[in-house]
Subunit: 424 residues, 2 copies
Amino acid sequence: MKRTRDLALRHRAKSVLPNGMYGHQATALLPETYPQFFSRGQGAHIWDADGNKYLDLMCAYGPNLLGYADPRIDDAAIDQLRKGDTLTGPTAVMVELAELMVDMVSHADWAIFCKNGTDATTMAKTVARAQTGKRIILVADGAYHGAAPWCTPAPAGVIEEDRAFIRKYEYNNAESLAAAVADAGDDLAAIFATPFKHDAFTDQALPDVHYARHARRVCDQTGALLIVDDVRAGFRLARDCSWELIGVRPDLSTWGKSIANGHPLSALLGAEKARKAAGSIYVTGSFWFSAVPMAAAIATLQILRNSSYLEHICALGTQLREGLARAADTAGFSFRQTGPVQMPLFLFDGDPDHRLGFAWSSDMLEQGVYVHPWHNMFLCDALTRSDINRVIRAAEKAFEGLATRIDQLEPHPALRARLASAPT
Amino acid sequence: MKRTRDLALRHRAKSVLPNGMYGHQATALLPETYPQFFSRGQGAHIWDADGNKYLDLMCAYGPNLLGYADPRIDDAAIDQLRKGDTLTGPTAVMVELAELMVDMVSHADWAIFCKNGTDATTMAKTVARAQTGKRIILVADGAYHGAAPWCTPAPAGVIEEDRAFIRKYEYNNAESLAAAVADAGDDLAAIFATPFKHDAFTDQALPDVHYARHARRVCDQTGALLIVDDVRAGFRLARDCSWELIGVRPDLSTWGKSIANGHPLSALLGAEKARKAAGSIYVTGSFWFSAVPMAAAIATLQILRNSSYLEHICALGTQLREGLARAADTAGFSFRQTGPVQMPLFLFDGDPDHRLGFAWSSDMLEQGVYVHPWHNMFLCDALTRSDINRVIRAAEKAFEGLATRIDQLEPHPALRARLASAPT
């Protein structure tokens, strides 16, 4: 596989970007054959900087829900761009979008639009403190809620005070939550929960209903706000807040990633109860009122409402899960596929340093299928049954190949260093 | 002036957005005739939701530097959108843009791109703490550096710990800065400075060279980082960091607003010295690697380098300042125009509750010129000498009209309430 341009770009990037790349799209913790730079996206496919084509199961880490470069969405964005994007005030598009989201998301009565998922989660924390006059925010240990100092998974540059009154509990464990609530005394402002456990490097877990109901009950009793962080999973599990599936309705929910199919937009949605608090905080951003991503979001949401995208990605996810299970079984691997079928994570049993996962994923990449060895993946509506069959056939080969060289594998150096220094 | 659609949109917005609108583009503190909703932007003009057309001196609060809907920029954005925007990794465009910014901005050796100005200022704070292992961040009292809990101008939902080790000094006052530095002892991480004083509701002030050099010297002596927050003023004062004009070079600078002429992009730039610290922090965002705003930024920066936009907006700014001074003088008003001519702020003497400014601005609006009564404005390259003549003629009329009804003016109720409760 050609890598000339990717390597040249990495070399140039090294001098003008810290570490050559930062954030979740840096490939430092991926197999070394993984390309850092891409050039194109179309439907369910991406092309790297050297023109190598992949069936992409990462979907830009979530934003690509309907397909890359979908003309139904991008034409709406371009139409709006020709009229006006970032102006001296918002456009009617903002009101239409707020109405549409409030209409789709059962618990929501109002919306604040922003740019990053972190904007939405940070506002949720601030609204909860404004609402309650209390300080303690409970978050599940290991859950990702963004990369501001109060929540970034890495400690560099963060001081103790940035995380004052942020306390941990164990996801899906009602007893652990109850203990954290008891510890909070009368200072509890909010409980954060991702819609399911989608932490990196570990098995995903669907939400335990008993735990979710307990969280709701605690909030009802104390006046604290229940916040579902749907940034990553929003609209991939439901055409509503993801916890509607288990009948638990939050006070606030945070959105981003897929709501405009890749155009930069995130949102905080809230219930009537929290409207006044939301109106009391001062939050803004230079591009929070820009019309183009909102026009793209309207086009996206209309498709979500009027198409069977959700049933389609669920059916493909089931096909993928079953096919991979068979392939792994045939090759004699104990291969764990966790989380909702449309947002799968793959891990091998007996693979503490991920050397099996890395080798298998590299082989998939070599065959033109982009999978992630330790982060959940995402299916999009542009995938077809035959694409999934292609993934399964590639997996069969990758499992077979893995069996023949299992004793020659080495762990990835940067990942080994990270695992050695990890707090958990 | 027709307002039917604007009023209808406000009514709808009231139920789905907190207070009907949030953030810096809410019109709650503007004269009541100011439209909340817009429909179009072209060159130096905007149209409100009812189709009323204005010559716009706000430029979207900064982003519009070359003209709204400039096809040289938007065509580049659309070309990139058709190829790929938010993908599973960055594109070559990101490297090209980083190289271009590092090339243009003298102090910069690396770049991190993000979405909000607040992302850049928050990262600057985090990098400074990572770099120094120290905690205290000095910011000028009244300066705006964003709307995260550590810096938002409003206290709702913010707890004391959010602002721990954020200390104030008086802008342009070297003695005040020295005292704050002395207070910080050996715990000083950074000094923030806007390139000039551009606080709302008060006269702007150009930077005092003695103060700026003092800040540089303190940082050289202590190892703290000097941060110029160029989010608002970037590329409107210079084709480089704004403090190059006074010969003071920061360690970090923050950018946003105009760098992609309205497309959503911001950046933290830094010197070699801070590269390792920048590489040690974990920061990211779902759309930080998206190619479209970066392609727009490259198109914008190439125009900035190869055109006389800066000389043009400075010449127009001078024409405006002189024309308005003559008009005010003729009508007998003491009218203060402060800050750089291309980023003016207008205030009336003897107008503590801004009733004169509000009445004058309303009259300008009625004549089709959008000015702001208490926030700095922005000129853009799409303005012409004849546009500025039109502003001056409108101002002559507005001053005349104001003289005839000066005794009948009332202060704006929401603004009066705000001024009464303001901390300063």
